[in-house]
């Protein structure tokens, strides 16, 4: 126990000008005071779920910075519910610092008055409600971050005072097993525990012996078994049945027009159907081009079920993941050479590490977006929704601090710098892959991003641009690939973008002669320029055309969530 002493007072004989001895231990003593208040509720570190509200009231103080673990997939949903149900007369003014706002409770705390300030990364499903609460003055947003930025600030000026996390299981000492969906837990707990904060974990079960220890008990103050297992969203499962022939065509263009010439081996994919199509034609189309062993060997990627055929075909050597994916547990366990797994055999993911890997260790990011403007800036922001960023801006940005070379990185750098008097360096490939029109005839290319209007209406410092045009190296549509690395002027860049923008107003506004000129120079590549016969672009190329095919490809190891089945 900490020595309980009264605040130091200056001895009466000391000169009045001498500085008072500073107390260097206020955080630790504050922590002890909180623990003392909570002590009656705990047996060791174990608290009953029925006492969860009492525990939070004992621990929390007005204005605390609180991290409520809301991940991309795993949610501390029980603690979220308890927090949202607290009496704002007793707990209020909390400053929430969490990566994802996924559950209604994540915003209920603001509506009830328990919390008032917010720093976050992504709010996908709650984006519209968040916008309403912000405009109604119930939430003051500090900043909208990328994952890496928010995690970084946990160690600088946004360190949580109290963290409410979730794990698969705990033992009686408070050791945690986070299981395959480790996600944000390590970074949250590390920042909190080593700054004398308090860590409370909800777990699906209390056990005598854990399969492995992901978070040591020393860093955890309280554990409780939640009434129901925490919710996990199968966010990365794409049913191959929904992939269109046009997406297959675009996937062929990505492989033949980008992956092959740049020898892309370290990469990250977005979560859309476009990139799932690439994963699914590796064993067929890429194999037929003789690219096995030459591309796509190392991935920073969640365990996409769509990657199974490529893994089985021997394309993939390693996959490190931000989080796991429901149904992939047994498959991952059976492929330890490929995935990061613990001594118990189950996966260990880590969002912060994988984000860093995606930013610094990958040579290519490819993903989709909702809007691209004439400068190549892209955004998923739409009016009336504050959706945030997640990880895409870090993955989809040239890592300017990078120093190690690779053939991919060097080739991109050469293309960007050819003919200019610049010091040699490489560049990351950042590819935006979009159909020119989304469903309901929404054009993917626009003169001005909705993000600008949103920034104005929501009073943001900057428009929420997901990927800056200056970082984008290629834009790939069903009409062609625009290689922006080779553009030398803003005018060329604009025409290169217009030249693959199809029949959107932006595309129709092209200067046809300029576009033909760019095509002659290889800045714009049409499918026929790549030697791709559009007629061969059919779903027949997909190594799996249904979820069931993925189960077959996995040898029965993949166990898809029931909503994806048709058997």
């Amino acid at each position: 126990m900490l020595q309980q002493t009264a605040p130091a007072t200056a001895p009466s004989c000391a000169p009045s000008s001498a500085p008072a001895a500073r107390d260097w231990n206020t955080q630790a003593r504050n922590r002890e005071a909180r623990l003392a208040r909570a002590a009656p509720l705990a047996r060791g570190k174990v608290v009953k779920s029925a006492d969860a509200a009492a525990l939070l009231e004992a621990i929390l103080e007005t204005g605390d910075r609180v991290c409520l673990e809301g991940n991309n997939q795993k949610q501390a949903d029980f603690l979220a519910k308890v927090l949202a149900g607290l009496d704002p007369a007793r707990v209020n003014g909390l400053h929430m610092v969490q990566s994802v706002l996924a559950l209604p409770e994540h915003l209920d705390v603001f509506e009830s008055g328990v919390a008032s300030r917010l720093d976050f990364s992504f709010s996908g499903p709650q984006g519209a409600r968040l916008a309403r609460l912000v405009s109604g003055g119930q939430i003051a947003i500090g900043a909208i971050h990328t994952y890496l930025e928010l995690f970084s600030r946990y160690f600088v000026d946004l360190t949580p005072r109290v963290s409410l996390v979730c794990a698969q299981a705990a033992d009686r000492n408070g050791n945690l097993y986070t299981g395959p969906n480790t996600e944000d837990t390590p970074v949250i707990v590390e920042a909190t525990a080593f700054k004398r904060g308090i860590v409370i974990a909800q777990v699906n079960e209390l056990v005598d012996t854990l399969p492995r220890v992901d978070i040591p008990a020393d860093w955890v103050d309280f554990v409780m078994a939640s009434p129901k297992p925490h919710y996990i969203e199968p966010l990365f499962t794409r049913d191959p049945a929904q992939i269109s022939d046009i997406q297959v065509l675009m996937a062929m263009m990505a492989i033949k027009g980008i992956y092959a010439p740049y020898e892309v081996n370290r990469l990250n994919h977005g979560i859309g159907f476009d990139t799932a199509a690439i994963e699914l034609i590796l064993p067929t189309y890429a194999e037929s081009l003789g690219l096995k062993g030459k591309i796509c060997r190392h991935w920073a990627l969640n365990p996409h079920p769509a990657l199974i055929p490529a893994i089985e075909a021997g394309f993939v050597q390693s996959v490190h993941s931000f989080g796991s994916e429901l149904g992939m547990e047994a498959y991952i366990r059976a492929r330890p050479d490929v995935f990061f797994t613990g001594p118990d055999g189950s996966m260990r993911s880590n969002r912060a590490m994988c984000q860093a890997a995606g930013h610094y260790a990958c040579d290519l990011f490819i993903g989709s977006t909702l809007q691209i403007d004439l400068a190549g800036n892209s955004s998923t922001a739409t009016l009336g929704r504050i959706a945030g960023f997640g990880g895409a801006p870090n993955m989809g940005a040239d890592a300017r601090g990078r120093r190690h070379a690779s053939p991919t990185w060097l080739k991109a750098g050469r293309e960007a710098r050819a003919g200019r008097n610049l010091v040699p360096r490489g560049q990351k490939l950042v590819v935006q892959m979009v159909e020119t029109y989304r469903e309901h005839m929404q054009p993917a290319f626009v003169e001005t991003l909705d993000a600008f209007a949103l920034a104005e209406s929501a009073g943001m410092d900057l428009p929420p641009v997901m990927i800056y045009g200056e970082d984008v190296t290629h834009i790939l549509t069903e009409e062609g690939i625009a290689n922006l690395l080779l553009c030398r002027t803003d005018e060329e860049r604009e025409q290169a973008i217009r030249g693959v923008a199809g029949y959107t107003p932006v595309g129709l506004g092209r200067d046809k002669r300029a576009v033909e000129n760019l095509r002659d120079r290889g800045i714009i590549l049409r499918p026929e320029d790549l030697g791709i016969d559009k007629r061969s672009a059919t779903r027949d190329l997909l190594a799996a055309r249904s979820i069931k095919d993925l189960v077959r490809a996995s040898g029965g190891l993949y166990d898809p969530p029931k909503r994806f089945r048709n058997w």
């Binding site: 046009i246 029109y437 005839m441 029949y503 129709l508």
Partner: protein, 105 residues
């Protein structure tokens, strides 16, 4: 719903196979394209019925390119559309023409 018609003159008559051909399905985001031989001095007539109103300019551009691509004549092309994207429209048109020239359904 909106009805649009387009006419192109000076195409190369393509009546080797005088058998009508259908491609596609009238489903959401999709369309059906019916190609029929008609002797009309090399002209192509295209009639579009579409559920998506207000995209006449885009249809025009898609059809201009289609005609430029194939340069065929003496055809009647009829389309029932449920909001297909221009990429899908072009794909179906090409599939229909290919089947038409290739010898029937």
């Amino acid at each position: 719903m909106e009805r649009l018609t387009f006419t192109y003159a000076g195409g190369r008559p393509a009546t080797r196979n005088a058998k009508a051909t259908l491609a596609g399905v009238v489903g959401s985001g999709n369309l059906e394209v019916l190609v029929e031989p008609v002797a009309q001095d090399g002209a192509v007539t295209i009639e579009v019925t579409t559920a998506a109103v207000g995209f006449g300019r885009i249809w025009q551009a898609v059809m201009d390119d289609f005609f430029a691509r194939h340069g065929l004549g003496d055809l009647r092309i009829s389309i029932n559309d449920v909001g297909a994207t221009p990429a899908v429209v072009s794909l179906r048109l090409d599939q229909a023409i290919e089947t038409y020239l290739g010898g029937g359904q």
